[in-house]
């Protein structure tokens, strides 16, 4: 039994981290907020070239993919990353980064799709298998003020075409696990990013003649954030290992646990990060709000924390 990252894992983690620092510095990410196309298609291709969408087979192991997606989450890289990585398992265009795919979620309570203007493929995970409609344009009313300015959303007017059945029930089941694990990894990245940002601020902002990070009330908030993020991270690694066939437990169960805890951690760290920033935390300028908003978006993906908690309880 070993829980250690090997040299390949560490190289992939470092590679994606420096890729994000180079190609998705926060000024570049924020620029998407002012444009119609949040996803920069050239950079999207670069993400594909980094191998992030190539999971399984000769590509990344699930564990390596989890490390990569944690970095994408931490850097707030916008776009339907997990959805496209799933589509890439059945579509060459998605794998090459030429196609932006979105996963269709159940209308609950309304039929909201993400990236309606830029998505050109729709993926559906159903009981009978995986359905993919490539080369489609979504018929949706775009929303003027999405919660997360980096996740544009629209209300579907007509259901998108059903597309082709590209994989059986077993493939859909595997993709569900992948989707849960990779989303959870991104959520851990958000939780960690929010914690790092708030910690840096607490070391520099002064009140009452000392940095606010010297006050225990603030220290303990930051410690709470770190603990939540850290526990969620091991849950993600345990789930990714199980998905790789090198784990201890049922992959679907562990994947649900991972997304439940990572989602809770991202929401908690996002919100607490705003609190640590005081008034600055409530401004557009400071990124604390961006972590929280992305956390809110990802919590709704597949199943939110409360729904997952019920599923975990039902599994006994």
């Amino acid at each position: 039994m070993d829980f250690d990252l090997d040299d390949d894992d560490l190289a992939i983690q470092a590679g994606i981290r420096s890729f994000c620092a180079g190609r998705f510095p926060i000024e570049v990410v924020r620029r998407g907020e002012l444009t119609d196309s949040v996803v920069d298609t050239d950079r999207w291709r670069e993400i594909a070239e980094m191998g992030v969408f190539a999971i399984g087979g000769d590509g990344l192991t699930r564990r390596q993919a989890a490390l990569a997606f944690e970095e994408l989450g931490r850097a707030l890289v916008p776009g339907p990353l997990v959805d496209t990585a799933l589509a890439a398992q059945v579509s060459a265009a998605a794998a090459a980064g030429d196609l932006i795919a979105v996963l269709l979620h159940e209308p609950d309570p309304v039929a909201v799709v993400e990236f309606p203007a830029q998505a050109r493929a729709v993926l559906r995970l159903a009981d009978d298998g995986v359905h993919l409609a490539e080369g489609v344009t979504l018929d949706a009313t775009s929303v003027e003020r999405p919660l997360d300015a980096l996740t544009p959303v629209g209300l579907l007017r007509t259901p998108p075409p059903a597309g082709d059945l590209v994989g059986g029930a077993d493939v859909a089941a595997r993709m569900t696990v992948d989707a849960l694990v990779l989303t959870a990894a991104q959520q851990v990245g958000l939780a960690a990013g929010a914690t790092e940002l708030a910690t840096a601020y607490a070391k520099e902002r002064q009140q009452f003649g000392r940095v606010i990070g010297a006050f225990q009330a603030v220290k303990h908030l930051l410690a709470d954030m770190l603990v939540k993020a850290e526990v969620a991270r091991v849950a993600v690694h345990a789930a990714a290992c199980a998905a790789d066939g090198a784990g201890d437990g049922d992959p679907l169960h562990l994947a649900r646990v991972a997304k439940m805890l990572a989602g809770d951690a991202a929401l908690f760290c996002g919100k607490t990060g705003i609190q640590v920033h005081g008034g600055m935390g409530f401004t557009w300028e400071v990124d604390a709000q961006r972590y929280w908003k992305r956390a809110c978006v990802l919590d709704t993906h597949l199943a939110n924390g409360d729904r997952l908690a019920e599923l975990v309880a039902a599994a006994g």
């Binding site: 039994m1 070993d2 829980f3 250690d4 990252l5 090997d6 894992d9 564990r63 914690t195 910690t199 607490a202 070391k203 000392r210 940095v211 990070g213 010297a214 225990q216 220290k219 303990h220 930051l222 410690a223 709470d224 770190l226 603990v227 939540k228 850290e230 526990v231 969620a232 091991v234 849950a235 690694h237 345990a238 290992c241 199980a242 090198a246 784990g247 201890d248 437990g249 169960h253 562990l254 649900r256 646990v257 991972a258 439940m260 805890l261 809770d264 409360d306 997952l308 908690a309 019920e310 599923l311 975990v312 309880a313 039902a314 006994g316």
Partner: protein, 395 residues
């Protein structure tokens, strides 16, 4: 990263399980909680059985009579013994997990030769005399004095919260040998036989009204200087060496109990009805159970990560602090949820009727001690904030 156990680890498990299946049917039933003499005898008899089978001091080096098992094997040992409800380390706790490892690292050959085999065989029970009425979280401010008089130290002062203090043969004792030095620099570590004249352990009832720990008073207690471990005034360092023996396994048995209780609570919720519905029909309760059991799965993974790190580097580091913070918070919530579930049955520490509710009440109380003992939650948060996040130190 591969969370499966290796063939060698599975072989270790199989051998252990075969032995446990063989001997456990012959272990007598656990004595009552307040039968301290009975419990000591029960705990130490189990230790003797472990010794005879080669499992005593599982994580101790072979040259000192231990098994020299890896941290992962230690994890497997704790997992299998707890799953089968084998006796817990109990009265042997301080000797096996604290005083013994300290002696291995710091004692003279003579001290080791006398004490280590007796700990392994369950012949000597140890207690820990660290905390004082005036020195808890700020342990280094302890004031119990040891004044040198020829070949002896003369000890005066008092200790508190000394678990098993009235049942122990030896005490690992921190005393102040230089009151003028900075607080960390004037402390010494002594082996104190508990039958010396002038030692007065007075049981201090816990909130369960059990006498698990004591106040211990010292009135001109004379102990040979030869009983000191490490140099005079170097006791703080000696103590810190012991802490570094932790291999990520400290709370494994504990946590397996919490996992079992969580499963049992779900079962109980399905059987308890009121207002025409079972507790399980309440989605809020189901979600709480789901979150608790998911967190326990994650903490099991964290334990594996800590153990794995200890196996590689010899140290758990701050992973242990993260674990304890998350785990004690979880225990408090599990306790509260159990109380809401069993409602009026929570008014008794003994089982009422057939539902078997007493253990939930006792475990909830136990949870309250765990966020205080061995470093309070607040101290742990300070440590996480300062050592991991690099925030300014307190004071």
């Amino acid at each position: 990263m591969d969370l499966r156990y290796t063939e060698a680890e599975e072989a270790f498990r199989a051998e252990l399980v075969a032995w446990l299946d063989d001997v456990l049917p012959h272990v007598p039933p656990e004595p009552r909680r307040d039968d301290w003499a009975g419990r000591r005898a029960w705990d130490t008899a189990w230790q003797r059985m472990l010794y005879d089978a080669g499992y005593a001091g599982i994580n101790w080096p072979r040259e000192y009579g231990g098994r020299g098992a890896t941290p992962t094997e230690h994890l497997i040992f704790l997992e299998e013994t707890e799953r089968r409800h084998a006796p817990y380390v109990g009265h042997n706790f301080v000797g096996l997990l604290h005083a013994g490892p300290t002696l291995i690292a710091e004692a003279t050959e003579e001290q080791k030769a006398f004490h280590l085999p007796a700990i392994l065989r369950g012949e000597h029970v140890w207690c820990q005399g660290f905390s004082e009425p005036g020195a808890g979280s700020d342990l280094a401010s302890l004031r119990t004095r040891a004044v040198r008089d020829g070949d002896e130290y003369v000890i005066n002062g008092s200790k508190i919260w000394t678990s098993f203090g009235h049942n122990a043969d030896y005490c690992e004792m921190l005393v102040r040998t230089d009151p003028d030095a900075p607080k960390h620099k004037g402390i010494s570590w002594l082996i104190l036989p508990m039958d010396l004249p002038g030692i007065d352990p007075r049981p201090l009832p816990t909130m369960e009204n059990s006498t698990e720990f004591c106040e211990v008073y010292f009135d001109d207690v004379r102990v040979p200087v030869a009983n000191r471990v490490g140099a005079e005034n170097d006791g703080w360092r000696v103590t810190m060496v012991t802490l570094s023996f932790e291999r990520g396994t400290a709370f494994v048995s504990e946590m397996l109990i919490a996992m079992e209780l969580t499963r049992e609570l779900a079962g109980l919720a399905k059987r308890i009805t009121s207002h025409g519905a079972t507790r399980w029909d309440d989605a809020g309760l189901r979600r709480d159970i789901g979150r608790l059991s998911g967190e326990l799965d994650a903490l099991w993974a964290l334990t594996k990560r800590n153990v794995s790190q200890a196996q590689r580097s010899g140290l758990v580091g701050t992973g242990g602090n993260v674990f304890k913070l998350a785990y004690t918070d979880l225990l408090h919530r599990l306790g509260d949820l159990a109380m809401h579930t069993i409602n009026r049955a929570s008014l008794s520490m003994d089982d009422l009727g057939e539902l078997g509710t007493g253990k939930f009440v006792l475990h909830r109380i136990h949870g309250l001690s765990l966020s205080i003992a061995a470093g309070t939650t607040q101290i742990n948060k300070n440590i996480v904030a300062e050592r991991i996040l690099g925030l300014p130190k307190d004071r």
